[in-house]
Symmetry: C2
Subunit: 345 residues, 2 copies
DNA sequence: CACCCTCTTGCAATCGATTACAAGCCTCCG
DNA sequence: CGGAGGCTTGTAATCGATTGCAAGAGGGTG
């Protein structure tokens, strides 16, 4: 009859105590006398007893888990954020459930925002329907956010970061600057575009040449094609792309066609994913503190689960990382001869 | 008094039926008469009732979740595997819980392998202790595996794949070939090294120059430094690295020092992560079917959870992807003159 | 010796949904 | 008209652990 998984009453019987005492040994050992405790522990060992979490969760009315909704698990940008979250949550005894929002419908997703499924929710996808997420479990929004929802946001100042990036390009002497956007409608895309425009306008420069994109490698490659297709004298001498992945695709395409970076075009990315510091040329970019974003989001959520009032928005600092993909524009021969011409005579 | 979360008895009261009927409407609607069903559904809508999963799980003795143990979430190699798993599992109504094994101790990890936590376990980390994982929930091992454990494995033929990679290099005319290994003790590292050695031995060539590594970008960079530090005439003319990430680091370091790939050294990677097709030069590599690995592992686990006998090992095909980072060795001047010398006179 | 206090332990209700079993109601047939 | 059989529904036990309440043991004090 011992072929079944042992339950708490089996332990109790063997130790000659009540189930209440066994339970106390498990979750509140101090109130049990040392002697009893030892014999219960011995009985646990002998029976090979393991706690049933479903039962405990039912009683405690909590799940011990936190769900993260990620737009695309395949995107390496998110994995480090998740790693940061996982570290903090594990330290507090919480599981991290990860759900890929592109792999499932909205109905399924809402199922995760329930107290009986998770004690909290971290949303990394700004494209979810706002209405379904209201009045459920504590929620924190990280990176992207959903305009309609009242919840703390852990983010960076995308607009300011974009401005810094473009100011750097302007400072190098670039005047014709291109911008490759993220997916249309995305809050990050809009903010980074706005920052780009602001930086240019502040210097009295014309607005950027804007190319469409969606953060993916391949959309960066397509942007590269579009750039190459321009007449040489119309090409921006510097391009700021809203993600590193796109910058990689862009550079790959440009190099593939025999042009060089930064000689023929300066390129600036966004994110500072690990790989781009090892490319040739190493990519100049804006560093997002990905682990820190994950950690802060998790801490913020834990605080809310613990009953504290939700914090306001948390804005983490970014950093301009200058590497080898940006340089002053090379003056074109035509201009050079015009400028240098008189002196040469 | 309605400030509490409504339970099934609240719905039952409102609809004027018993809790059993409400439960049946929820999980087995066909046995309930159409009229009753409609009134119960109306009551559910009015109360805003939501099912309590903890209670259902307790009763069903299942959790509806599957845990994946991943060695390092930050590694983009795993994210696509997870995406594949998540897609299959979501389709079958299971959650995917992801745990980063490097963020937690072994004790914590074993806690995931319990029937009350998860209905199954997919292990992607070969370095876990074998003993703790026995006799718990259904387990599938993917990519890496744990020698002591009896469980279906979803994998590729690492040795054969490495052989194919090295045969390609040999076929191009390379004779001095280097290999940068994965982490010591790892089953993948061993198999890929063995395949490399086999391919060389089969052609009567000397064993490879073996450099240490750990799959990470930075260890690839260090391998690049080590390669550069060799006297030019001892440097392998081709290097096969056990991961794409290392290949990126290696190429970055070599290019950084002014040498060119593949002119000065052919480089071959392993994995075919998305980024490497966009680098310059585009990386020749072995493609692992990552999504398929995740999908097959999930399917296999679902079958086991469903009570089917565990399948045998599943070996998925790899593919040699030839791009621009490999080419015939450039004959060195010394050799060239020796060979061409007589003819020249 | 009666009384109070502290420490340990057990009893039994509870968390919320599921389901085996039985009962009630119809209809149909011999 | 009695009974078999099909539907639908309700009753109550069950899943396994937790915990408020109270009782019993032991020690100290007036």
């Amino acid at each position: 009859m011992q072929h079944q998984r042992p339950k708490i009453v089996d332990v109790a019987r063997l130790a000659g105590v009540s189930t209440a005492t066994v339970s106390r040994v498990l979750s509140n050992p101090d109130v049990v006398s040392a002697e009893t405790r030892r014999s219960v522990e011995e009985a646990i060992r002998q029976t090979g007893y393991r706690l049933n979490h479903a039962a405990r969760n039912l009683r405690h009315r909590r799940t011990g888990g936190v769900v993260a909704l990620v737009p695309n698990l395949s995107n390496p940008f998110f994995s480090q954020i998740l790693a940061g979250m996982a570290a903090v949550l594990a330290g507090a005894g919480y599981n991290l459930l990860i759900a890929d929002t592109c792999a499932m419908g909205g109905e399924t997703l809402l199922g995760y925002a329930e107290p009986s499924r998770a004690d909290g929710l971290i949303v990394l996808d700004g494209t979810l329907p706002a209405d379904g997420l209201k009045r459920r479990v504590p929620i924190v929004l990280a990176c992207e956010w959903i305009p309609g929802i009242e919840a703390p946001r852990v983010k960076i100042d995308n607009r300011a970061a974009a401005r810094v990036a473009v100011e750097h390009l302007i400072g190098l002497g670039h005047r014709r600057i291109g911008h490759v956007m993220g997916p249309p409608g995305n809050v990050l895309s809009e903010a980074r575009l706005a920052g780009t425009e602001q930086a240019l306008a502040a210097q009295g420069l014309p607005p950027p040449l804007v190319l469409p994109g969606d953060f993916s490698l391949d959309s960066g490659r397509l942007a590269g094609e579009a750039w190459l297709a321009l007449p040489a004298e119309q090409r921006p001498t510097a391009v700021f792309l809203a993600s590193d992945a796109m910058a990689c695709g862009f550079i790959g395409e440009v190099q593939h066609c025999g042009l060089a970076v930064p000689r023929d075009v300066s390129v600036m990315g966004f994110d500072d994913i690990e790989l781009v510091s090892h490319m040739t040329p190493a990519l100049s970019t804006i560093r997002q503190p990905r682990e820190a974003i994950g950690r802060r989001a998790a801490q913020c959520l834990l605080a809310m689960i613990g009953g504290e009032a939700p914090e306001g928005d948390i804005v983490l600092p970014t950093e301009l990382v200058l590497r080898a993909s940006t340089s002053p524009p090379v003056t074109t021969p035509a201009i050079k001869s015009r400028e240098a011409g008189p002196a040469r005579l």
